[in-house]
């Protein structure tokens, strides 16, 4: 049993509307051995992972999966469940899994939900090892493996503070994109994005952080707004520290000038020795030493977000309780056994450390680390304690107000204010309490996971501060899918949308564009390109071409779309790709954007393609149909049901909803369509129709739609050249549907002119696709030249048989085929038409470039 390949499908995909891992699992010799046939396997597996009893599986009852195991199920299915369980046991709970056979015997696709790809992959691989060990009856340390997986999860997952904000965003439907391996996260898409980095927001200014770092400056600023921090001053040396302590009055606190998290801070110092020792400890931090008046009471942390104090917690000084038996050192070690303690920021209690400060503190308590304190005696290890108790509801409003003023004066939008008070429920003045520190980028764990009291929705508070209620963080995203015409439709809609003053980002196979800028000319109908749009801060509208094969291999990346346009579900494309075995899969891929249309969004579907028309059932939003025939049954019913339809009536594209008809664009009025050398041929009209329907749904004005059509067609991808009366069209027709469409379109436009075709073999043709191409070529062209690359799939190697009437040019690159074009031009009659259809973009560019170089007249 081995894993052939792992695909990470990010975002909605053919399996689910969230990210999954798809593994191609080869069972090898286990392809004949279901679980029930492997001796002891089921017992070992259930013993190792007893919690799988909760997996209901297809039985639909608790223990359902164990029943399947005993009855006998294939190992692919077992791996699916084990992987899910391992992820859940390592604290990343997931539930979705599927196992499906492929066309190849013994090879399964195992699909599991995935929150973090690297982690899910590790679980999958661990799961495989676990299963093999269970089969072979070899030892497998489940605990150790889980520990390792948990550590990995901690590494790759967002930190707890960031996660809290991201979870709050998810709950509000605001999408997020991780833009670094750390905690830098973008919330929202495109122009609507805001960044966070742990508890730092896009609005946190660096200058305020610098101010917060500088304790003395903070003290001055706060003093001037009436938020008094304890008096204090910088000390030059040990003597000066003692002088300062005497000036301020004992006891005092000695700390580094830019102390963080209590490092190097000594508290409640009463005598000369203690002050001097504390000075030495603090000066090791290197930034200068501050002596401050000591404020008695316990430490509290108040979290300020925007103009509100949203949470407060308190706790006790770090201590251990004596038991007459153990030494301080032992008591500390015992305390550290508490699973709540750890170095990790996600744990509510920090590990107790007996550092210099604690040793000094012990000395002042008349102890050392080997002393055995009496039963019940509280031994302070550190004065600054862990903040474990939620005190939000007890926070006195005056203190809350002071904390807000402190944060705003320093200039922080999110700040953790350290407050010393005997009782946080009373005003500070009444108890001689004080604000002692303002912290930028405060940790949130103490508020999220208090040991005592209620967790506080601080993630929500920060999120709502960044995205006031009502803001969605989204820019409208329109996806175009279908076998044919999606690039053209995408570019038409981009142009229409741009005409209405949007900065449109477009990722399609013609490239990546933002506004008028072309970021790439390569094929950009990819997840990576979509990501580039999502992170682009200028984009305020997105048009994404979702290519079905990429959906199958990568997922669509965006979590939902406002509009999904589906042109058709033709045939013959990608079918020879590995394990893309049937049309249903392609259909699912094309439908994926429809599955994730927003509730208030819309699917724009081709009523003339029955496979597409039925996708409406899967759409959570509304549906708008477009059709070439106003009498279409689907359209009629839809109208009757109160839906909207965009159709072609004569040469006019009309949008109708109930009785209301709006003429959007009259193609007859659009001179440029007729000025085009090939006129308004069917393909153009179909694409314009689909795009217009998209434009109508986006609420664009007829003027914008018309301007868009004009602009898009002016820079059409298909290039028509003329040389000595012969016309030559370079376009793409890499699949039977496209080839058929061109065949009939050319027939309409060219009438009797003699037609030649140069066709490049695409790598993903199945034999039946090749046959269909051959048939279409014979039907529509007088001659066919086939360019075959060496990497053509073995399934169509037998090309000469399939294309019996064609000339085969077996070339390694299209560049050599250029000669072939030349020869055909030479041989063609004066009014002949030559159709050149490279299968890849690069080929098209090459052909265009050649024709231009040859000084052919480009007609469009």
């Amino acid at each position: 049993m081995h894993i052939r390949k792992i695909l990470t499908l990010v975002g909605p995909n053919i399996w689910a509307n969230y990210s999954v891992l798809e593994a191609w699992l080869d069972l090898d010799h286990y392809d004949t051995k279901p679980s029930s046939t492997l001796p002891g396997f089921v017992d070992r597996l259930t013993a190792w992972l007893p919690s799988m009893i909760e997996h209901r599986c297809s039985e639909g009852v608790r223990g359902g999966f164990f029943m399947r195991l005993r009855d006998g199920t294939w190992l692919g299915h077992v791996l699916e469940h084990v992987t899910l369980e391992l992820q859940s046991l390592a604290h990343l709970p997931v539930g979705y899994g599927r196992t499906r056979e492929t066309s190849e015997r013994g090879v399964y696709r195992v699909v599991v939900e995935c929150l973090e790809p690297t982690f899910a992959e590790a679980c999958l691989r661990t799961g495989r090892e676990l299963i093999l060990a269970a089969i072979d009856d070899t030892p497998f340390d489940v605990k150790a493996n889980l520990r390792r997986l948990r550590e990995l999860a901690d590494q790759v997952c967002l930190g707890p503070s960031t996660q809290a904000i991201v979870s709050a965003a998810k709950a509000r439907g605001i999408p997020h994109v991780r833009i670094s391996h750390g905690n830098l996260v973008q919330l929202g898409y495109g122009k609507a994005q805001r960044r966070i980095w742990a508890a730092e927001t896009a609005q946190t200014c660096a200058l305020a952080e610098s101010i917060a770092q500088d304790k003395e400056l903070t003290r001055q600023l706060l003093y001037s707004v009436g938020v008094a921090m304890p008096a204090g001053r910088a000390a030059e040396d040990r003597e000066d520290a003692w002088d300062a302590a005497e000036e301020l009055g004992l006891p005092v606190v000695v700390k580094p000038q830019d102390a963080n998290h209590g490092r190097g801070v000594s508290i409640c110092l009463e005598d000369r020795d203690a002050v001097m020792t504390a000075f030495d400890i603090a000066s090791r931090e290197g930034s200068g030493v501050l002596v401050e008046r000591f404020v008695s009471g316990t430490q509290h942390r108040v979290l300020v977000v925007g103009n509100q104090a949203v949470a407060a917690s308190g706790g006790e000084a770090e201590h251990v309780i004596g038991d007459d038996t153990h030494t301080v050192e032992e008591l500390v070690a015992q305390a550290n056994q508490d699973p709540n303690r750890g170095e990790d920021s996600a744990q509510p209690l920090t590990t107790l450390v007996l550092d210099d400060i604690s040793l000094e503190l012990l000395r002042r308590q008349g102890l050392d680390k080997t002393a055995i304190p009496a039963t019940g005696r509280k031994v302070i290890i550190h004065y600054n304690g862990d903040l474990t108790v939620d005190e939000t509801e007890r926070l006195h409003p005056d203190t809350a107000a002071s904390c807000v003023i402190a944060a705003q004066t320093v200039g922080l939008d999110v700040a953790g204010i350290d407050v010393i008070a005997e009782d946080i429920a009373r005003p500070l003045e009444a108890q001689d309490g004080a604000i002692i520190e303002v912290n930028a980028s405060p940790g949130l764990v103490m508020h999220l996971k208090p040991l005592v009291g209620k967790p506080r929705p601080v993630g929500e508070a920060i999120l709502n501060h960044l995205f006031p209620i009502g803001e969605t963080g989204r820019v409208p995203l329109l996806a175009v899918s279908g076998t044919n015409g999606k690039t053209a439709v995408a570019s038409l809609i981009s142009a229409m949308w741009s005409a209405s003053s949007r900065t449109v980002g477009e990722a399609s196979s013609r490239g990546l564009r933002v506004g008028s800028r072309v970021l790439s000319n390569a094929d950009c109908a990819t997840a990576a390109s979509v990501r580039r749009l999502l992170v682009n801060p200028f984009v305020d509208a997105m048009v994404v071409e979702t290519d079905e094969i990429r959906v199958i291999r990568e997922g669509v990346l965006f979590d939902r779309c406002e509009v999904a346009v589906v042109t058709n579900l033709g045939s013959g494309d990608h079918m020879a790709e590995q394990y893309v075995d049937d049309r249903t899969l392609i259909g699912k891929a094309i439908r994926t954007p429809v599955d994730v249309v927003a509730l208030d969004g819309c699917a724009v579907l081709n009523a003339d393609d029955p496979d597409v028309a039925t996708m409406a059932e899967k759409c959570r939003g509304r549906t708008v149909y477009f059709t070439k025939s106003p009498t279409s049954e689907v359209a009629r019913k839809h109208l009757e049901a109160g839906g909207q339809v965009v159709f072609l009536e004569g040469s006019t594209i009309v949008a109708q909803e109930k009785r209301q008809r709006r003429a959007i664009v009259d193609l007859g009025d659009m001179d440029f369509l007729h000025d085009r050398p090939l006129g308004a041929h069917a393909i153009v009209v179909e694409n314009v129709l689909a795009a217009t329907a998209g434009g109508v749904v986006l609420g664009l004005t007829p003027t914008s739609i018309r301007a868009g059509i004009q602009a898009a067609l002016a820079e059409t991808e298909d290039a028509l050249f003329e040389t000595n009366g012969r016309r030559l069209l370079v376009t793409s027709a890499r699949n039977p549907s496209a080839f058929a469409a061109w065949g009939s379109a050319l027939g309409d436009v060219l009438g009797q002119a003699k037609r030649h075709a140069i066709l490049e073999v695409a790598t993903d043709w199945r034999p039946e696709d090749a046959k269909e191409m051959s048939r279409l070529a014979a039907e529509n062209f007088a001659s066919l030249t086939l360019v075959v690359h060496d990497d053509a799939p073995p399934t169509v190697q037998n090309l000469s048989e399939i294309f019996e009437h064609a000339k085969l040019a077996r070339e390694n690159a299209l560049s050599a085929a250029i000669d072939r074009i030349e020869r055909i031009i030479g041989a063609a009659g004066t009014s002949d038409f030559i159709f050149v259809a490279p299968s890849k973009r690069s080929g098209k560019d090459l052909a265009n470039e050649h024709c231009t170089k040859r000084n052919m007249v480009r007609l469009s």
């Binding site: 833009i179 670094s180 830098l184 960044r195 966070i196 980095w197 730092e200 927001t201 896009a202 609005q203 946190t204 200014c205 660096a206 200058l207 305020a208 952080e209 610098s210 101010i211 500088d214 400056l217 001055q220 600023l221 001037s224 707004v225 009436g226 003023i405 705003q408 004066t409 200039g411 930028a440 980028s441 990546l512 933002v514 800028r517 970021l519 790439s520 990501r531 580039r532 992170v535 682009n536 801060p537 200028f538």
Partner: protein
Amino acid sequence: MKADNIRTLRGPNRWSDDTLLEVIAVADSDLATPATFGRLRGSIPKELADVTQAVWDRSEATDSYHGEACLVAELTAAFQRLAGCEIGKPTVHTLDSRNFRILVQYQEEEVGRRALALAFDLLVAVREDRQVDLAAAIRELRKFNQSVRLGPSTGAIVRAAEARGIPTRRLTEGSLVMLGYGSRQRRIWAAETDRTSAIAESIAQDKELTKSLLGAIGVPVPEGRSVESAEEAWTAAQEIGVPVVVKPRKGNQGRGVSVRLTTREAVMAAYEIAVAHDGEVMVERQVEGCDFRLLVIGGRLIAAARREPPTVMGDGKHTITELVDIENQDPRRGEDHATSLSKLRLDAIGREMLAEQGLTVESIPEASKVVVLRRNANLSTGGSAVDVTDEVHPLVAERAIDAAAMVGLDVAGIDVITSRIDQPLDITRGAIVEVNAAPGLRMHIEPSEGTPRPVGEAMVNSIFPHGENGRIPIVAVTGTNGKTTTTRCVAHLLQMSGRRVGMTCTDGIYVENRRLDTGDCSGPKSARAVLGNPRVDAAVLETARGGMLREGLGFDWCDVAIVTNVGEGDHLGMGGIHTVEELAKVKAMPIRRVSAQGAAVLNADDPLVVEMAKLCRGSVIFFSRHPESPVLVSHRNKGGKTVTVRDGAIVLGVGREERKVARLTDLPLTLGGKIGFQVDNLLAAVAAGHALGLSIDGIRTGIETFMNDLKTVPGRFNVVAHRGATIILDYGHNSSALVALSEAIEKMPHRKRKIVYTAAGDRRDEDIRRQAKLIGDFFHEIYIYEDQCTRGRPDGEVMQLMREGFGADRRERVVLQESGELAAIGAAIASLHSGDLLLCQVDQVELALDYVTSLCRQGDGHPAASHPGKVKSTAAVLPATAS
């Protein structure tokens, strides 16, 4: 000659609008000055000859104490100028034959003080025939000035702000500067603004992340990756294709960066240098071309410079070390960021660079051979910068702007490497190699060559859009009497209009009704605290004479200045102010600083105040209780605005028209109009409210709801009931206040009038006598005591003066209480019968109020007084003030 008293006038002051040192210089002995002068003449260094000559030229000035004072003044100014400060001419006033007032401007307070000390030292040294190394002292002062003054970048921003009328203040000794006041303030820290995102800075620090973000939006960047060993660095270099750059992933100012590496050895050595700076190392494609720095501020390209690495040119004679020394003689090369070029350095990196060229520091390069001392062109390591702003291709500018936006920086320095900045990057195959937060501005402000760019202006324009000046409405209130009540009332009006008001007065600092400080806060320091408070939308500042004399004003311009009165004055004889006319001049200071759009609110009944109208740049609103006052009438005839009382109502007059604001009977503060001085205070507040643009309705609501009680306005005409008697507590302690108080008390029903009083020891003899006379004439029973601090007078003297003032026939009605204020109050209260009226002039306000409250509570069944901490009055709660 020595300095008797040095004052630092940090704001507009009675001498000028500039920051000044005010020094009282006293001739300390009868030493013959001519000798000093003669000796000084001989020892004065060349560079000071002009200065001293100017003094000598005025023949009458020489050989006199006055001459000496002039010399001190001129030298103080000259030392500051030599240290690099731009200041004007000093002034010397003769107070008497031995006392002189020197006024000398300063830019940096501490530099000014040191210059002054140096000038006095020099005089003493010459007299004592001691040698002074003046040149060294001046060098020291210059260095000191460089260390304390704002650097060129921040300096440029501050100047640009000031040019736009935006007030500025340094918050630290460093470059943290506040621009604007209160809630309109913004902060900058060198090239960082308060909109510079912390996350964006972290991103910019991470070159790899920056590159990937820039790449995502189509900004050309050099491809590359991070590596973990020297070996891997070389592997990466081969993948990418040499030449390559090796640098630390984090870091700045070009530290640890090696460029144009082609060999395995060089790449591996460079890895070691980089790894020493930061654990993570990156290898990148070497983009060929020059090093350009583009400065993007607020989404616009503001400046661009071509940066060149530090070089020396051989002459066939000197070693490289010597050539570097010679080059470093260039005065433009300074030790720090303060000058346009930095000194060349021959440190380890420099020597390595030489080694690569086959040279050592001892090599003598041939004539006109250029020796490169460092690869990178950072200014801080001795490089130079040529302004090329006008050559930048618009598409390059666009990419730089995109880069700043993508990283999220409002101010960014974009490093571009390209062969030609006037060509798009995709043509030159250039790239953006780095985005810098808080970029150095020096290369654009003082480029080594080419046009300096208005970077400071751009910074200011980006944080203050056109038309904004960062100011909040400021009302300054001054006068002899009624300042505090007027201040409180104006603050109340503003608060009612929805603003968060900051207020300073003799009771403390208040922001949004929170008391931030206690005690007398009517000085410039408190004013500055309020103006610096980011929550304050409007400031009302009581501006007392003491602060103005001591330190000048705490603001540069105000929108409204109110002068309640000068009256008979107070504190005369203090701070060099001996007459009411002089006092009026001081009180006019805020009027001189009313902005052209602002207004002065002046008491038409006080001739000295009326005179101040001439000093005001803005408009003037006169107020008076007497509608027929000739000042009011003539002002209105000229189209001016007035506020007065007509037919029992406060009216606002604008030219011919008169609008009723409120009826006196509706104004609790005035006891239905009975307390005249409170009417005056409200008239001033109404005028100020109108000048601030508040509606008549808003003003009416404001003054109708404004009252004084013990809690909100302690010690300002608080009226307390006690066993059928009435006690009035007030802080007023000058003649004008006593007159006003008497006038008010007369209108209240009473049987016998009693008073507890003392005069402050720091008043003039005649003032103390006059106060005593006023009291003696008006009150039936008088309890006097001696203040705890007699302010410089021997014990018993104040009492003596008061006795003199009472006149013989009234002395029998005077009770002298030896043991202080509280005892006097206690005795007076104990003597009260029903229907009596006692005016307690409280000095230690809070202490006395507490005492009175507790006395009233004991054995007094009056329900109003039985609430702890709250004292209510008889008639209505009577709040007020006369001070």
